[in-house]
């Protein structure tokens, strides 16, 4: 084996508040492994993205192998393995949003933020130089009746036009 194993220099651990939340949520599941998704979300909220240290910490916490955690992290596009902006903007581009001109919204965002669209394996491409925003396309956000929609971190914004997008960004 030519490659060296990764050395985790600063181990990750939940802060007091997240630890409390974890203790509360772990009780809701029959086995620890079942709490994988909420635990990872919690960890991602604290660390910004899933680092090897986070994977190792979660694996130890849930008594599973690191590979199981890596498996889940790479399966779901909502977990990031590289740094993202403070605000992650997800633009829905599935059919109803596409028919309601999501492309206009997307192009407006691209121009306004002066960035490309991130891909699942290259988030840096869609992140602004100041590290404030990450722009990405996503599949259905389950709000077809109010298309086109975008999601900024955990909040959904509906019936968008370029003007409304400006408003949303100004209010962040």
């Amino acid at each position: 084996m030519s490659e060296e194993l990764i050395q985790i220099e600063t181990p990750f651990a939940f802060n007091a508040e997240n630890q409390r939340e974890f203790d509360e949520l772990i009780g809701r599941y029959p086995i620890k492994e079942a709490a994988m998704l909420p635990t990872l979300h919690l960890a991602q909220r604290q660390a910004g993205y899933i680092t090897p240290a986070v994977m190792k910490y979660v694996a130890e916490l849930l008594e599973v192998t690191v590979m199981k955690v890596k498996d889940v992290v790479t399966f779901y596009p909502m977990f990031f393995e590289e740094p993202v902006g403070e605000y992650v903007i997800r633009v829905c581009h599935t059919l109803p949003c596409a028919l309601r001109d999501c492309k206009v919204v997307l192009d407006h965002l691209k121009a306004k933020l002066d960035t490309d669209i991130a891909s699942e394996t290259n988030l840096a491409k869609g992140t602004t130089a100041d590290g404030k925003f990450t722009l990405m396309k996503v599949e259905c956000l389950a709000s077809c009746d109010v298309a086109p929609v975008i999601m900024v971190n955990d909040d959904l914004y509906k019936n968008l036009t370029p003007e409304k997008v400006d408003e949303v960004l100004d209010n962040l």
């Binding site: 994977m55 890596k70 498996d71 399966f75 393995e81």
Partner: protein, 551 residues
């Protein structure tokens, strides 16, 4: 027992047998990738689809026909049905494995599996022993309809001996299940999603591993990989499988006695693969054994007898070496001679050796030498034993089998050796280091005869060195730690003038006027069966490939 109608055959199988196994028992192949008899069954490859028959809903009672959906043969088991649920009044199950529907399903599944496959058989190590290649030939379509761009995931280094050519992978997950269930180490998993699925070890986003596939059973994932995705670095680009000859043998790496297949060509041993034995190693073997054969092919092997001239070991010829030994042996009294057998040697080697000691030299002082104990490694479904000799149990019994023989080991042996004038030591343990006390004892010996395969600390002290053979160059039997007597078989010829160990001992016996005239190892096994009480059944013929467990 369940009565099953399998295609046109009426077969009886045990309740709970799955259809793949039931068919295999009767010579019918149901192709499969993800199913492996030693692992759990996720039924994810869909290759083993078969067509079960049953009552047709809505039709008059007693009418049977093919089920609406095909079923996976690996997870569909047959069992005895209650009398009112029999099909055609007598069958417990009716299954078609070659109906047009099944054939079409297989062809379609193979088309999907080949979507991202690079079709690089000409440069793939697995070609010739590849399930994807074989099934495509037998069950696949003769043309491809796929015109789009193929996924090209990278080639990856998973561990000290395992490479992953991700492009060839069909994601059967056998390797993942092996690492979870058999070795219990869980280094492997799937990354990404859907058609981008890849087998991998945990890595950072940049690809630096957090953990590597370095457990002592890791090599087995290469064996169970049905395609050329997981490849052993040790065997990479060494040989095409069809150029190698195969012989059923037993691993000499430890006292477990894993059943193996030795694959070899005239110029040496190329690889060892585990061979199924239900009670000993199931489907597996450890990497220590698997990769531990290299000493057989070593350029350093002893090829000629050596004798000490002016404090240096010089090559000589057999007749001279034997004469030198004869001179020394005829001058000392029987009680000053110690004959030491080897736990690395076969039962046959040790039997001839003790016969030589007892009948010719008339000494009952025997010893047992072998590899130093290592570490025991326990896995959920496998144990690597600490005793690194394949035949400790057998050598101990056989050496002590003649009337009045005493087999000394460890401290008692070295104490005896330090007071002896002539010692005949059969080693055969590669790279065996000598402890200080052992070294001191051997240095005290006036005339030391060593029979070994490689230059070692032991041969350095010898006055005469006789070149012996490894497990790959002789026939014989090993007795493992649980009392299984199993056969090893000759594959390649010994290097140079090296000879099979029992032949050397017999030659020496003849030189000293003894009467001994064995022609082949099986003949010695007959003598063992006659004279060693526990081994009454252990003729080579009866042992066969399955082995015999001593009572």
């Amino acid at each position: 027992m369940a009565l099953v109608k399998l295609n046109d055959l009426e077969i009886e199988v045990e309740d709970g047998t799955n259809i793949v196994e039931a068919a295999r028992q009767h010579g019918i192949e149901v192709p499969h990738y993800c199913y492996h008899p030693g692992l759990s069954r996720p039924a994810n490859c869909r290759m083993c689809l078969v067509e079960p028959y049953g009552p047709i809903p809505g039709a008059p009672p007693g009418t049977i026909g093919p089920a609406r959906q095909l079923a996976t043969g690996c997870t569909t088991t047959v069992r005895t049905a209650p009398p009112d649920r029999k099909l055609d009044d007598k069958y417990d199950a009716i299954v078609q494995t070659d109906s047009p529907r099944v054939k079409k399903a297989r062809e379609d599944i193979l088309e999907f599996l080949l979507v991202h496959h690079p079709l690089d058989c000409p440069v793939c190590d697995q070609a010739g022993e590849c399930d994807l290649q074989d099934y495509s030939y037998r069950h696949g379509s003769d043309k491809s309809r796929y015109l789009e761009v193929k996924n090209v995931p990278p080639k990856k280094d998973l561990g000290p001996d395992v490479l992953l050519y991700s492009t060839r992978c069909v994601v059967c997950t056998r390797c993942i299940r092996f690492a979870e269930e058999v070795s219990g180490t869980g280094e492997l998993g799937l990354i990404n999603r859907g058609s981008h699925d890849e087998i991998d070890i945990p890595r950072s986003h940049e690809g630096v591993p957090l953990q590597v596939l370095d457990n002592k059973l890791a090599g087995n994932v290469v064996d169970i990989c049905p395609v050329g995705a997981l490849i052993s670095k040790d065997f990479l680009f060494k040989s095409r499988p069809w150029f190698m000859e195969k012989a059923n043998s037993v691993c000499s790496g430890c006292s477990v006695g894993c059943n193996i297949t030795v694959e070899y060509k005239a110029d040496g041993v190329y690889r060892l693969k585990p061979r199924f034995h239900e009670d000993i190693n199931q489907h597996w073997m450890c990497d220590d054994g698997r990769l531990g054969y290299h000493y057989v092919n070593s350029d350093d092997r002893l090829q000629l007898p050596l004798k000490r001239v002016d404090d240096e070991l010089m090559p000589t010829h057999w007749a001279d070496a034997l004469t030198v030994i004869q001179e020394q042996l005829s001058e000392v009294a029987a009680e000053d001679i110690v004959v030491i057998g080897s736990a690395q040697g076969t039962n046959e080697d040790n039997y001839v050796l003790q016969q030589f000691a007892h009948d010719v030299l008339q000494t009952t002082q025997l010893g047992l030498f072998g590899q130093l104990p290592g570490e025991e490694h326990k896995f959920p479904q496998f144990t690597i034993e600490a005793d690194k000799n394949p035949n400790t149990a057998g050598a101990r019994t056989i050496l002590g089998s003649a009337n009045g023989n005493v087999v000394l080991e460890d401290e008692a042996l070295w104490e005896k050796v330090s007071g002896a004038k002539v010692v005949y030591l059969v080693s055969g343990a590669p790279e065996r280091p000598l402890e200080d006390a052992e070294k001191a004892a051997l240095e005290n010996v006036e005339f030391l005869i060593v029979q070994d395969i490689l230059p070692s600390e032991v041969t350095q002290l010898a006055d005469v060195v006789l070149p012996g053979t490894t497990f790959a160059e002789k026939d014989g039997t090993f007795t493992n730690s649980t009392g299984w007597v199993q056969r090893i078989r000759k594959t390649i010829d010994p290097p140079g003038e090296a000879r099979v160990d029992w032949e050397i001992t017999q030659q020496l016996a003849k030189q000293l006027g003894g009467e001994m005239n064995y022609h082949f190892a099986g003949e010695i096994a007959l003598a063992i069966a006659e004279n060693v009480p526990d081994y009454a059944d252990t003729t080579h013929q009866k042992i066969g490939d399955a082995g015999i467990k001593l009572a």
